[in-house]
Amino acid sequence: MISADMKSEEGDLDEDTINNFTCELGVLSQCDGSATLCNGLTAVLVATFGPVEVRQQRELVDRSSIEVTFRGPHGVEGVEDRRVEQLVRSTLEQCVFAALHPRTAVSVVLNVLETDDLLLLSTCVNAAVLALLDSSLSMKYLPAAVTCVPVGDRVLVNPLPSERQGSSGGSVTAVYDTGSERLVACRTAGQLSAEQLTSCLREARRAAALVRQLYRRAVAAKFSKEPRDPWAGPSRAEDMPPSWRRLGGQQTGEQSTS
């Protein structure tokens, strides 16, 4: 059982355990906030518009209405898409300062570029938070989502498919408030024993602190004084998502002026 006053332990968890976490803010031009987040083989692009005008039936008199739209990688809609939307919406409804913007809507659009299905939920939640950070919407706290898979007697955090050999198929996606370290949302898949669930939640809580560091780095990069060419995308090669290799063309991005 997780008790409220459990403090985070010192451990050997470092940034390498969160594999291939690369993100960039402000990638789209027509929306209020946008972010790309790549975690392992899962890449998600999120755009937020808000606060904007809300439809009559969705209008709330005392706060903003959060609308989440999820589009899967192959465009065929299903019930799973609605489940992802529901998790992201319930997380954001708690953390966004909706009372500041009554009778408006905040629309969050999640676009999956590629996925390996396991890390999809946590990547979507984290990418949505990054996009809201980019749009400078007020939030009460920053939630961070982490996926844990128990393998044998260890717990793997955000594992790649190659590392998941030997797992029994169970996984836990946990969303933590990175400030107070309280559990915001939790979704499990597959079979887990009670001890496995407990240890997964504990590891997720520790890893959520690292995700928060990622948020800080992303926002710092956005406001850094280094010249960032708006046409060129991520400035460093190591920020590129692993599967989207940059090829061809003049990458300087200088506008051709005479």
């Binding site: 031009s29 027509q30 904007v52 046409w231 290799r245 061809g248």
Partner: protein, 412 residues
Amino acid sequence: MKPLVPSTCETNSVVDAVSKGTRLDGRELLDHREATIQFGREYGTCQIRLGNTRALATVRAELGTPRPSRPNEGTLQVAVDVTSTAAPGADRSNDLTVGLERLLERCLRESRCVDQESLCVVADEKVWQLRLHVELLDLGGNACDAAALAALAALCHFRRPHVSVTGGEVRLCPADEAEPVPLAVLHKPVLVTFAFFGDGQHFVADPTEIEERASEGLLTVGMNSYREICTLHLTGKLLLNKQQVLECTELAAARARSLTSQLRRALTADEAERTAIHPFPGLARVELERMATAAASVRLSGAVRGPALTAEQISEMEKEVDEKLSVFRHKDMAAAAEIGQGGASQWGPPSDDEEGDQDEMWPRTAETPAKTAPAASDSDSEGEQTVLHPEDLEPHAEPGTGKGLRCPMPVR
């Protein structure tokens, strides 16, 4: 969410600027933005960024029945999607989606950019049906050009599975058995858009979204690098004369040439990166298996047509094949480039000039069918195309008969 309505002062300032020969982003009137081409992990996925405009194209292929009017041709279907991320209210805009779909079909399908007859597997029964899906992730102006370039790049990048037809049965070969085959792209058409202002007096190339909204009309020219016009498309309340259209096509020709050479460089670079990751391309593995089959056939074959081989000859040939097989077995993956450096390549198309060796490489069934062990060929690690020969489509015979020992020749 409703789309944003452009303000009057914005549109007026754009028109004023163009009439004075300047643009809001500092470009010259006829300057294009740089296009960035990125290929994805799977074959046939490509993302194009043209300034703020982003288009993502995916090509998928599946086997199906052909259209009754064209029983010998495959099909190419285009679907365009404007995602909600592209602009507020953009996903409700059907005009853009339908217009772009039709424009891409004209530019790519009706101009015969992809050779649809090469997509036929069995006439009247099985053809490849290509589905091209273009997603517009960001509308920063000139979505036509970005979508068309993404679609073209995805078609050039795409590889379909190799198909083997045995008797009446069609079998898809998995990627580790036979290398996927690229599409036959006959020419590479790209779209170039111009926006007109002031009753057609001024025009700009590669308009941004605010210039598009402020313009009176758009002229889209589809051209390939051979200066052939594939598409002409005029929208808006605009009347043009012949001189203006010719001027635009001249500019489009230059842009098409530079875009196609940029695309070619990007494809080459992508191919180099892929084969660098896999030092043993599928083809080398196939050859290994064929050689093993050949060696086994030599041992198994009792009654072979032609002059009987003595036991010494057979064991000699076995030794030869074993030696060459051991090259594959014992060499490291990293040393793949060293294979084949021992001697001249014995692979090559049969020609009248060369005799001797060539005759032995291509035995007629009446002659020595057993001596077909291919040389340790120069299996360089560049991914080469596999060219289908008529022999490849014939059924491989059982070991024990003469025919089974003819190894189809991969062209280097």
